[in-house]
Structure formats: C-alpha cells, structure tokens
C-alpha cells in the first residue's frame, strides 16, 4: 500500500492505494467524486474521462499511483466559480445533449479537451474526437450540436429542437 496525493478540482486529496488501484477508483471512492463513471473494462466507453495535468485520459485505464502529484479535473470541477453551468455544460443543457446522463461527464470532459486544442472544430472533427466516448441515448446528434454551439458556432441550421 502506498500513499498518494493529488489535486482533484483544486482540492488536495490523499489516500492509501494498492498498485492495482485505478485512478477512477481513487476519484470515486477516495475523493468521493462519483460524477466520473465506469462503463466498461476495455477502455472504450470513455465515461470515466478526466483531465490529468490538462490532458484527457480514461481514468479507468490508468493507475492512481501514476497520478501521484498530478492535477486532476473531473466533471465536478467544470462549473463556473459561482456554481452556474460552464459554457460546455450549458450548451449540453440548451441543446439536449444528454438523456440518461451516464456518459455525460466523459462527453463534457472530452469536449473541453477538444475545444482547448481546436476552438472552432468542424462537425467531422467533433465526431472524430468523440470516437472514444460511447453514448447509447442521444444518437450523438445533440452532443455534436452542443459542442459546436459551445465553440461559438451557429447551430441554428441543424435540424430539430
């Protein structure tokens, strides 16, 4: 057992972990931030996506010890300082980019990583960037639309409410 400390959404969190303890487990159980979800065990669904030192990673595919000393951001760290929804979160609500909500944290974290790299992506770039995040509810239509809107692009010509 090893002690690790990391900053999660600006808060320093320490805990004792085994070698095999996953970062997602540390976030959910030690830090109590259950917004990060685990939807598969082959690193494909992306529900567990968080940012480690600014880079998006699948937290169920990384050991907690590997994030020792790191700066971690999860969905709980994405709202504005006053608690209101951040730009991407607000766009997801405005454009109905979520239904059951389970994949949503990973989608928001992925969108944030994309828009940091590429502030005005094309539809195709958004879809390709989401290739590591599965959603079973929305058919992706409104997720893509929400991300396009969050990037400041006009989405009024995209079909439907």
């Amino acid at each position: 057992m090893t002690n690790v400390t990391m900053t999660i959404n600006g808060r320093s969190v320490s805990g004792t972990v085994e070698g095999r303890t996953l970062l997602s487990t540390f976030i959910r159980e030690t830090a109590g931030a259950t917004g990060t979800h685990v939807g598969c065990d082959t690193a494909q669904c992306g529900a567990c996506t968080v940012h480690v030192n600014g880079a998006s990673v699948k937290s169920c595919n990384m050991f907690a010890m590997e994030a020792d000393g790191a700066d971690v951001t999860t969905i709980e760290g994405m709202a504005n300082a006053d608690g209101s929804l951040g730009t991407i979160q607000q766009a997801f609500q405005d454009h109905h980019g979520l239904q059951c909500g389970f994949c949503t944290p990973g989608m928001v974290m992925t969108a944030a990583a994309l828009l940091k790299e590429n502030p005005t992506p094309t539809e195709g770039e958004v879809r390709e960037y989401l290739s590591g995040n599965l959603c079973r509810c929305t058919g992706y239509h409104n997720i893509v639309k929400a991300i396009m809107a969050a990037s400041g692009q006009d989405v009024s010509s995209i079909a439907a409410e």
């Binding site: 090893t2 085994e18 070698g19 095999r20 996953l22 065990d41 082959t42 690193a43 494909q44 992306g46 996506t49 880079a55 998006s56 990673v57 699948k58 595919n61 990384m62 050991f63 010890m65 590997e66 020792d68 992925t110 990583a113 994309l114 960037y129 290739s131 590591g132 995040n133």
Partner: protein, 260 residues
C-alpha cells in the same frame, strides 16, 4: 486484477534494475496492458512504470532521422509533424484519450497484430533502440505478440529515417477500431517499402511483390493484378482471410495514392 507492486522509477537505470525482479513487467501507457490485467490474463508481481522517466520521452529530428523516446505518447508524435505520415498514423490510433497515454514503445513491445505502429516501423526501416542494443525493424517483429526483445529489455527509442514519400491508410475493424488492414508505404533512400498490419496471422509483414512493382513505378496502377494469398490471413467475425487479402491490395493502392 491480481495484486502487484507498482514501481515508478524516474531513471532508466532504476527501471532496468526493477525489471530484474521475479515476474516484473514493464508498464508503459497501459492502454492495452491494463484491460488485460482487468481480465486477469496477466499476473505480474511487479509493474515497472516507464512513463515517469524523462529520458525515455521526447522527439528529435536530426539529419533526416526522427528519434522518438520509447515512452513518448501518441499525441506527442501526432503533434510533431516532422514525419507527416507517422504523425498522421499516431493521430489516428485509438482515440484522443488513448493517445494521451499510449506510447510508441509500448505499442512496439506488445506487437499486437492489429496495431498501427508496427507497420510504420517496418515500412520505414526504423531501428528499435533498447537499453542493450539496436534492432533493425526487419529483425524485430517475430510473430503474433512476439518480438526480438529479451526478458527485461525495454525500448528506449525508435529511430525513423524520414523517407521522401510515405503514407499510412488504415481500414478499421468496426468495433475495436484497430486495423482490420493497415498499410504503410514509404519511398526513400531504402527504396520502396510496404508494410501491412492487421491482416496476417503472423503479424505485421512486408509485401515484397508490391515493393518491387512500386520500385519501378510508384503509382497505384503498378499494383494492378497483384494480390496476397488468403492463406495465412486472419479470419474472424470481422472478415474472412479472403476479405483481408483483398483489402491488402485495395488499401495499399490507397496508401500509394495518398503518399503522392
């Protein structure tokens, strides 16, 4: 997962030392290894993480050779751009999150028959640099998940001569998005080289007939009438050996066209 110790050395020397232990195994980006561990298909006593070792990371372009540290992640290779075909390949491995963790050394050490990097290394005539020696790519890939690496030997860097022309085209398996067939072609000082991943039961291979045909005429039309035999190709629910053999021809043409 079975229980194991996880060590995070910060120098290559410490990593080598740690890997000398019984049942010790290197851990690079872990994007393949961790799912394997979750299925309890591997039982290391110690995992030695290589991603905290700065000397294994980084990309240098010197004298027409691109040297990439073994623990350099795909995203960094994708961003580099000094070997455009290689960056293009790296930028389409897995997904953005996998690319932020997965490393070139890890990929080449694992030698998954459907992985992308082996095709790049073989087609480029790359050199695999380990803590002990340098291995030409032609001698490195020895079979399915098999390489010339010895126990405890780790990839410290990969040296790619940057060719005059090169391109990689991947035809994806619909579920995993690994290569059902991926073809990397190069034309440069080493002549024309064509490496195929995803297709063969023996892992990545060079398609020598195509290389010969392209040597005299580096154009898709040079490949007309050429095909690889279906015998020895992988057959699974995503494609028969015949389909894969057919795709090798199609995708090679597309790679040549893309290389220009």
């Amino acid at each position: 997962m079975y229980a194991f110790e996880l060590e995070r050395p910060t120098t290559l020397a410490d990593a080598i030392k740690a890997l000398g232990g019984e049942e010790a195994q290197p851990l690079s980006g872990g994007q393949t290894l961790i799912p394997t561990l979750k299925q309890r298909l591997a039982m290391p006593s110690t995992l030695v993480s290589l991603t905290g070792i700065d000397e294994l990371k980084g990309i240098k372009n010197e004298g027409g050779t691109l040297t990439i540290g073994g623990a350099t992640c795909h995203a960094d290779v994708a961003k580099d751009g000094s070997y455009p075909a290689l960056s293009d390949l790296a930028g389409h491995i897995g997904d953005p999150h996998v690319r932020n963790r997965g490393t070139i050394g890890g990929s080449l050490a694992n030698n998954d028959p459907s992985a992308c990097y082996p095709a790049a290394a073989l087609a480029s005539g790359a050199t695999i640099v380990t803590n002990n020696r340098e291995i030409a790519a032609d001698n490195y890939f020895t079979g399915l998940f098999e390489t010339a690496l010895d126990e405890g030997e780790i990839i410290t860097a990969v040296k790619f001569p940057i060719p005059e022309k090169a391109a990689y085209v991947k035809f994806e398996q619909p579920a995993s998005r690994f290569a059902l067939v991926g073809v990397f072609v190069t034309k440069g000082a080493n002549g024309v080289r064509v490496a195929v991943t995803g297709a063969s039961e023996g892992g990545v291979f060079r398609w020598t007939e195509a290389e010969e045909a392209l040597s005299s005429n580096f154009a898709p039309s040079a490949l007309e009438g050429l095909s690889v035999p279906a015998d020895g190709m992988i057959g699974d629910l995503h494609g028969t050996p015949e389909y894969r053999a057919h795709l090798v021809g199609v995708i090679t043409k597309r790679a040549v066209m893309k290389a220009g």
